[in-house]
């Protein structure tokens, strides 16, 4: 069954979209990662204009982070004060990201910005995940427990001025690092259509030294507001949010995530993580190959004033 997407301006099969949402949702539920960094490239491969894919995916992530974050909220595993500070930085970052996006869109370079950001981040994340999971597999084979590594935090960063007490995290640190981390992730969110949890969570653990039990809940908490801000800003500045597309992805995504979480609890992690790492790397490689190989058609056309 074909459906005409009013903003993307193409017809796509409904079941393909719901299926994609379900698959990515399932994986994100199983691995405990957001699905944005897989869904946005998949939408682009499907033929959705990249600018629409990014903005629409931000809208979908609002739904998946609300549904995921609710459980942490009820368990009180959210550091609200930290979340609000990250969110403040994040909303500012999303504003900067959307403005950059708009500027490059007018110059016809936004597709390049999106592709390059993805190639960069997917190869870094995929590479790190693969290394981590291979180490874990090797450690299990040797019968050794894997010790969590905690690189020395640069504590002077945390001792900058504007110190705030975070009761939930049992920290008394400067608000500047979380503001900056929030800003960076907010910008990424606007440019790539991701929640940014895969950057936010390690940053909270290793840079801010937050206790792990509040990290995911706090990350999800601020992702809700930052992706909401990205959705609204892209709607206003670029008119690239396709609500119908977002809705169909949500239907598949939120349901897939629930089943993924159930399955994820029953399966052993390391092999699956290695698989996810390979998928992430594969998508990155595909985007990279698309950038370096000569396109069949050198020309592209848009309505004047619509850069992407």
């Amino acid at each position: 069954m074909q459906i005409y997407l009013p903003i993307a301006e193409i017809s796509v099969n409904v079941l393909t979209l719901i299926g994609m949402g379900g698959l990515v949702g399932f994986m994100s539920g199983m691995f405990g990662v957001g699905g944005g960094f897989l869904m946005t490239p998949l939408l682009i491969f499907l033929g959705i204009p990249p600018a629409v894919a990014v903005a629409t995916e931000a809208n979908q992530i609002v739904a998946s982070s609300v549904s995921g974050g609710l459980a942490y909220w009820q368990r009180r595993a959210v550091d609200v004060r930290m979340g609000l500070i990250l969110m403040t930085g994040g909303i500012a970052g999303s504003y900067a990201g959307v403005q950059l996006f708009k500027l490059l869109r007018e110059l016809g370079q936004v597709d390049l910005l999106i592709s390059l950001s993805y190639v960069l981040f997917l190869s870094i994340i995929g590479g790190l995940m693969l290394r981590e999971s291979l180490n874990a597999i090797a450690a299990t084979r040797r019968g050794q427990p894997l010790r969590a590594r905690r690189p020395g935090a640069h504590s002077w960063i945390l001792r900058l001025p504007l110190r705030v007490r975070f009761r939930q995290s049992n920290l008394y640190i400067s608000a500047i690092p979380p503001l900056m981390i929030g800003f960076f992730v907010g910008m990424m969110s606007a440019i790539m259509g991701v929640g940014g949890g895969f950057i936010m969570v390690p940053a909270m653990i290793y840079l801010l030294r937050m206790p792990t039990n509040v990290v995911i809940g706090t990350s999800l908490f601020q992702i809700i507001f930052v992706t909401a801000s990205v959705t609204i800003l892209h709607s206003v500045e670029n008119q690239t949010v396709d609500i119908l597309l977002a809705f169909l992805l949500m239907v598949g995504g939120v349901i897939g995530a629930q089943f993924g979480a159930i399955v994820g609890q029953k399966l052993r992690g390391e092999q699956l993580r290695a698989l996810l790492a390979l998928i992430v790397l594969g998508v990155g490689v595909k985007l990279f190959v698309d950038l370096i190989s000569q396109p069949e058609e050198l020309f592209s056309v848009t309505r004047m004033g619509f850069g992407g």
Partner: protein, 255 residues
């Protein structure tokens, strides 16, 4: 069923009109199978039937018929990719327009054989006449040709530009019909239909009409809202997402 009945009535009237007005200056009468196109959410393209009748003149029966369906004019930005530091990036940008967002032409035979080239360009028949519409004046002739060819390739690939040399069928020397494919990515707006009858290289009959194309239903509402009240549209997207996420979380908790 109802629609095809309507066609036959129209066609019968057309034949009557054509045969009764022997001294009438216009020798072509035509109509479409639809008076408007509605792009619904399940729109996956459709066929438009264009049909009518031609008179016989003193010089004999008319055999050269051209039908044109032209979408609303728009300005386009055409970009050409170049290799820079190993990757393909958008380089030169040309602005062109106004050019039709949709252009389909169908004829009984190759239009070049029907009338002189300058006459065809003057009448806007065929894509050759579009070449004049460059907004970037700095291009040389070769660059213009290359860019225009690229533009036409892109439009043809999405079935937005189409040319069929034997698409118009003449029936009994008097009735004619042609089908034009309307693809799912067609732009909205008021389209123009044109019917030309040629005889011995001269235009002997002409008729024009309009065909409105718009998005209807939920898609139309969303499209309108996105462009006309973007803030409310974005907020709506967020609110919907919150309810969806919340609803599903509740649903799965209960089980």
């Amino acid at each position: 069923m109802k629609q095809s009945f309507r066609h036959w009535v129209t066609l019968a009237l057309l034949v009557f009109a054509a045969s009764s007005s022997a001294v009438h200056a216009n020798t072509i009468v035509a109509d479409l199978s639809k008076d408007h196109i509605s792009i619904k959410s399940n729109f996956a393209g459709e066929k438009l039937l264009l049909f009518g009748a031609v008179d016989t003149t003193q010089e004999g029966p008319i055999e050269d018929i051209v039908v044109v369906l032209r979408g609303p004019g728009e300005n386009f930005t055409l970009r050409k990719k170049q290799k820079k530091v190993g990757i393909w990036v958008n380089g030169a940008a040309y602005n062109l327009g106004p050019l039709p967002g949709f252009y389909a032409i169908s004829s009984t035979r190759n239009v070049a054989e029907m009338a002189p080239q300058d006459e065809l360009i003057k009448l806007g028949i065929g894509t050759d006449g579009l070449e004049m519409n460059f907004l970037s004046p700095t291009l040389n002739a070769a660059e213009r040709r290359e860019a225009m060819a690229g533009f036409l390739r892109l439009k043809q690939a999405r079935a937005l530009y189409a040319q069929e040399q034997n698409g118009v069928k003449l029936i009994g020397g008097r009735l004619f019909r042609a089908e034009i494919n309307l693809p799912s990515g067609m732009p909205v707006g008021t389209y123009v239909t044109e019917f030309f009858a040629f005889q011995n290289g001269r235009l002997v009959g002409y008729q024009t009409g309009e065909l409105p194309v718009d998005i209807v239903g939920a898609g139309s509402l969303l499209h309108k809202a996105a462009y006309e009240m973007p803030l409310a549209y974005g907020v709506f997207g967020v609110v919907m997402a919150c309810f969806m996420g919340w609803g599903v979380a509740i649903l799965f908790r209960r089980r």
